[in-house]
Symmetry: C2
Subunit: 481 residues, 2 copies
Amino acid sequence: MEQESFLHRVLKIVKDETAPNVPLIEFRHPKELEDILKDDISISDPVSDQQLEESVRKVLHYSVKTNKPTFKNQLYGGTDPYGLAGTWIAEAFNTSQYTYEVAPVFTLIENKMLNHILKLFGFPDGDGIFSPGGSISMLYAIVAARFKAFPEVKSKGIRNLPEMVMYSSESCHYSIMKAAHWLGLGTESVRLIKSNQCGQMVIEELETALKNDINSNKVPIMVNGTAGTTVLGAIDNLDKIADICAEYGVWMHVDACWGGSLMLSQKFRTKLKGIERANSISWNPHKMAGAPLQCSLFLLKERGLLHEANSAAAQYLFQQDKFYDVRYDTGDKSIQCGRKIDAFKLWMIWKARGDIGLNQMTDYIMELAEFCLETVALRPGFRLVSAPLQCPNVCFWYIPSFMRHQTEDEKWWGLMHKITPKIKEILMTSSRMMVAYSPHKEHKNFFRLAFTFHPKLKEKDIIEMLQAIEDCGEMITIENL
Amino acid sequence: MEQESFLHRVLKIVKDETAPNVPLIEFRHPKELEDILKDDISISDPVSDQQLEESVRKVLHYSVKTNKPTFKNQLYGGTDPYGLAGTWIAEAFNTSQYTYEVAPVFTLIENKMLNHILKLFGFPDGDGIFSPGGSISMLYAIVAARFKAFPEVKSKGIRNLPEMVMYSSESCHYSIMKAAHWLGLGTESVRLIKSNQCGQMVIEELETALKNDINSNKVPIMVNGTAGTTVLGAIDNLDKIADICAEYGVWMHVDACWGGSLMLSQKFRTKLKGIERANSISWNPHKMAGAPLQCSLFLLKERGLLHEANSAAAQYLFQQDKFYDVRYDTGDKSIQCGRKIDAFKLWMIWKARGDIGLNQMTDYIMELAEFCLETVALRPGFRLVSAPLQCPNVCFWYIPSFMRHQTEDEKWWGLMHKITPKIKEILMTSSRMMVAYSPHKEHKNFFRLAFTFHPKLKEKDIIEMLQAIEDCGEMITIENL
């Protein structure tokens, strides 16, 4: 069939459009890009395979090549080829993961992966599920914590329950705010606890907030510790959070979406000490570990709770009169009905590389980040935002020559706040690099260079990236800001 | 690199393991399968590419070939090759859809697809988002309806708001129950309105329930009409639901996850008349239309609401000081942070086939379903559960010879309730077919044969499937039940 032959073209198209000589991005502003691609993007009338290929190639030409090591714009980048092979196979087998009958082997593989990872995180008797991203995992966590505290919430809702509150550091991911709205608690139910210079939650402030709330008859249902904040890569003191949660009887969740990958390393997992004392954990192997998007886990210490909280026992799907052992039908643990077999790509990676390969990969990522941090610390014009390294995030300003040796007053910082985005613009429009920037608390816009799966990345590439930042920084004048 | 060469093997592996002579499934019970695949599934130690390929092939050997037309177990099956090509490319480009800078062309493509589909569904000025499945779309719908009624819910939560209630037919998808729990409303907030013989909501009962609730000071926030129930494929009278929603000022959502594909057909879209009067709609092109899992849309009539309800304005991602027009950063409409570029595979399908091709495909699916229904109606031993056809679901019992010409009392139906699953077991273990069964209201277990994207499926294949059911049904005796 002609249409199937298109599949044979995919590998060629992808190879051509991501070849080493292809730039990271050929940036065009939205309106301009709409003009350039008007005919290519248009639908309505069917096109031939050849026309389709031409349009697809143009689409990809103007798309970001997220696999390049100069893509440092997000907390992912660099896809493990085994993971990509896994996801291609998974897509071709187009399987939904709810019942054993539809996904017999994929169910066993999901169980295998969950058990292996649960052990790694210190929940040997735990339970878990693959979810479509860290924000959905945050919803799972709060739902589990709330259900544990008030099981009647499932049928009765929260209207007649006491006022519930949650705690997280002010440097945490924004998903807890979205979740608080969705779950009917409201964003005001989230206590954003101060974080220190390094981005870690100030534990004394947590305890004060807990006491205040308890004294005013509010019910703390969850403390969210972060292992790897989005910007600084901060890891909260999980052991101390665990102590407090134990003392006050509060559910402890750890958002380890970013930093959870450090558990793969014997050397660096100590940074997450205390995580094994949590009630639940979320981890996204699609970030540092190079699994294709999305590959996200939600783990719980207590087995059975996920099913009890989320099951709806749909008669048409989870029939109890099936001819096989229906305990292998795991789909009713999920908020989703149809669910992709995300475990498979992670299994491919793990099978090919083993614990040892993933350990090495993680150590290598941290080694590069450490090198980057040390280089930034010494390099003229660069200034670190925080040290020492927690997760492989290196945050810094580049101070162009014309800004140096001046009084760093409010006006000066106001300029720096504009300089960082301007450097990014020049980096991006010249296709040298895409790098994240952000303000954080009192700090004005700075760069965040985060390291992820890139076995080919070398120290000299890091020097080149810093050089690119410097080159672009030096192109700035007061006038063109 | 050795590891990249594995990607070149994928197409060959997939082709071999899904070849026409490969059976639909080689069923093994869970424990047996665990034994067979013990070494293949195990991880920990890394394996060579050759060993990996061997294990992958074994995994796929025992997996269900969901692309075969004899896979009639779910409301999906049959992947459009253009959609698969799209998803392979999307996976290779590994892009997250939140900001224009990371996904410039994919953002334009998502906009294009949304606008085209919004027009198709009668929301020319509407808004929408791709979500990871119909159940998450249900969450979006309730969140939107609730926010519209009480915008303060975002910050304050629902504790101090009046008691909110929702309405849906008793034949609807279970996701509304899961959503009611998650969103803090509780499952008791869902009024399951009686459905008629054909599975459609009884509108008078809806109105009575609404009046009762209003009289007791409850606030109806949403009526969920279903366009294509999971089992019978029933389409609620959407125009009448719209009348009632207009009269009582209630948000109207239409769960068209299954039946929404009928909008692709000029002939059959009239079945969904009134859908254009809804406030929101969900549609899953990954079901009938053959897009690979997951491809799911949530559409709203009111532009801006999605952003207003869901935005958290994360400073590190949705900076307002970027150098391009940040109105193209659409990610803050989403509950997710990272989000797959699901629009792209649907765009590939639409671009290749056009409106006209999708129209033909839908008509052909309905034609086959109509043929199946007529055949079942006339074929000895078969009995329809309901007619006429709404969505392409054909529901029926097969009554083995030894059960015919008897008084159909409770005991007889008790046997039929066991016979249907038993036939399924034999069909599945002999690899002839996988077909869904379910009880529904007072009806004992029956088969649901639902038609989806399968351009190669012919009438003779349907006859063969019915023959398979008959053959397996005739193998049953009272003794082996």
